[in-house]
């Protein structure tokens, strides 16, 4: 993909984000932050690429270890973020259901 294609996706996604986030009810702003935090850990994709690389000299080995640490950090975030969001959302109850 060339840069313009990537940029187009980015700009359009910013608009989607703008409209979707304004429609989030203020009561759920804390879960919103927790879940955005979890999904921003999609950076794990980059971490996995680095970690999975083998061979090559010292630089490639260092790169692989950095990737591995990043996989760990991103996983904490993914599991922690989604779990804590689920925990919060489970607490929101309506009057009718009691």
């Amino acid at each position: 993909m060339d840069f313009i294609a990537i940029l187009s996706i980015f700009v359009l996604a910013c608009f989607v984000g703008y409209f979707v986030v304004w429609s989030v009810t203020p009561a759920l702003h804390t879960p919103l932050m927790a879940v955005t935090n979890a999904i921003s850990s999609v950076i794990i994709v980059g971490a996995l690429i680095a970690a999975a690389t083998q061979g090559g000299g010292v630089r490639a080995a260092a790169s692989s270890w950095l990737g591995l640490v990043a996989v760990l950090l991103a996983s904490i975030n993914i599991f922690g973020g989604f779990a804590v969001t689920a925990r919060m959302l489970a607490m929101y109850k309506s009057k009718k259901k009691g």
Partner: protein, 485 residues
């Protein structure tokens, strides 16, 4: 440009995962759909991880069956171990964390995203071939260098800024602003230096350039957050949320990965919108929040200018009597309720009043608490149905028919000075019209303290105000006891 060629199905899979993330946020438009939304998010993440594992860690195929070499298996084991360890740490933290500590937790999570972005950026620098950003001439693609430099810088700022925010929110560090002399000059100088170095990096791919960019960015994240006081933390946390998104987006540009770009844009705009909402709810400009120091000047002059004015003190029994007789009660919780952990006993009080036929509602100001929506989570934790909880604009008109406005742990958000006193630091901030209520009950530890903004509150001295001076939890417990009699 020699980009890692991904099979079309993988490109589609990343797109699907990006769309699932959009649906995850979309679900949060109402509590009823939110749980399904969260599941979409989880599926999206699983797809992104599985696709990456399948395409980027290629295990060479044998005649009929993949034949991994021992090296492949070692790497696979390491990655599985890292994910497994992360899962254990993440799930344990998520299960144990107290709801009142949610702002700290979110700040800590942001710091992890920031650090992960820095590590991925460095890894891409050290092994550009693996990331498909190496030109045939053996140098890193200059376009990718800009994205990499920016991603590293934003990631590092997110990391160190979030660490400071965490320390402030967690009470390891004073919440009051720390003001360095000439801090604006230092900050601007550092930012300009970072941008200059990113530009320089396109010409010179030496290690020192990337190292200095990273180091300066760590420093600026630290410098940007230390002058910001506790009251502005909702804005800071939202802002760092936004940064963590932009960092992911920058890395997505480097990797040409749709899922990362969509997510980065979503998270980036989400944090930016939340910052905007918080600033508007305090009638402050984003620039003035970032410049920091709010509350420092006002608290320096605290006490001196305050006159002694008469006020009325009430007891738990008085409060219980009036509450029982009331028809409409509006409860206004603030951060003090969270500190005192009074939300459960408050709900008990609400239940007792409802049994007496009292109409009980909760009113939440956008900046109540230390992060957006913090009070709503705490009330939900205490089993308050979400349809009894109202936003500022939805309940403002009801104070005139309200018999008791019950203020617990809030202060600035009910200060009429925001409407009348142009010299007040909180002037222009939208506040609840509590003074229209027949009776105002104000739970406060003592008459000495003032709100975060460091300003006196006229509500304390009004004829219809009853000051209930005690720890919030203790006072509500006593009211509950008195009601039960």
């Amino acid at each position: 440009m020699e980009h890692a060629i991904l099979p079309p199905w993988a490109l589609l899979a990343y797109l699907v995962s990006g769309v699932l993330f959009i649906l995850a946020l979309r679900g949060l438009s109402s509590p009823a759909t939110s749980r399904a939304g969260n599941r979409y998010g989880i599926v999206g993440m699983a797809i992104a991880i599985a696709t990456t594992m399948a395409t980027q860690a290629p295990i060479p195929p044998g005649d009929w069956w993949p034949r991994p070499t021992p090296e492949d298996l070692v790497i696979l084991a390491k990655i599985t171990a890292a994910i497994g360890l992360g899962a254990v740490i993440g799930l344990t933290t998520a299960r144990r964390i107290q709801m009142t500590a949610m702002p700290q937790l979110v700040a800590a999570f942001h710091s992890l995203v920031g650090l992960a972005a820095v590590l991925v950026g460095l890894a891409a620098y050290l092994n550009p071939h693996a990331f498909g950003i190496l030109l045939p001439s053996g140098v890193i693609n200059p376009d990718s260098r800009i994205e990499m430099g920016l991603g590293l810088a934003i990631g590092a700022i997110t990391f160190s800024g979030s660490v400071i925010a965490f320390l402030k929110l967690n009470g390891n560090m004073s919440g009051s602003p720390i003001l360095l002399p000439a801090r604006h000059v230092i900050n601007l100088g550092t930012l300009v230096a970072i941008l200059g170095l990113v530009a320089w990096f396109t010409q010179d791919e030496s290690l020192w350039v990337i190292a200095v960019i990273t180091a300066l960015s760590f420093a600026i994240g630290f410098l940007l957050i230390i002058p910001i006081g506790g009251a502005d933390m909702p804005v800071v946390v939202s802002m760092l949320n936004s940064y963590s998104g932009w960092a992911a987006a920058a890395m997505g540009f480097t990797l040409h990965n749709t899922a990362m770009i969509i997510t980065g844009a979503l998270v980036g705009s989400s944090g930016a919108i939340l910052s905007y909402i918080m600033c508007k709810a305090m009638n402050r400009s984003f620039i003035s929040v970032i410049a920091g120091g709010f509350g420092a000047e006002a608290s320096a002059g605290r006490g001196a200018a305050r006159e002694q004015r008469p006020w009325k003190r009430g007891s738990a029994e008085d409060a219980a009597f009036l509450l029982k007789e009331a028809e409409n009660v509006i409860i206004i919780p603030g951060y003090g309720m969270a500190v005192a952990q009074a939300q459960h006993v408050l709900r008990e009080m609400g239940d007792l009043l409802k049994k007496e036929g009292v109409n009980v509602k909760y009113a939440i100001h956008p900046v109540a608490g230390r992060m957006p929506g913090h009070m709503n989570v705490l009330l939900a934790e205490a089993n308050v149905p979400y349809d009894e909880v109202f936003e500022l604009e939805d309940i403002q008109g009801e104070f005139a028919q309200c018999d008791v406005a019950f203020v617990i742990g809030a202060n600035d958000v009910v200060n009429p000075a925001a409407k009348t006193d142009k010299s007040s630091p909180i002037y222009g901030m939208p506040v609840f019209d509590v003074e229209k209520a027949k009776t105002i009950m104000f739970i406060k530890r003592s008459m000495g303290g003032v709100g975060y903004a460091g300003v006196d509150n006229d509500v304390f001295y009004m004829d219809q105000t009853m000051m209930l001076l005690a720890d919030a939890k203790k006072m509500v417990e006593d009211i509950v006891k008195a009601l039960a009699h």
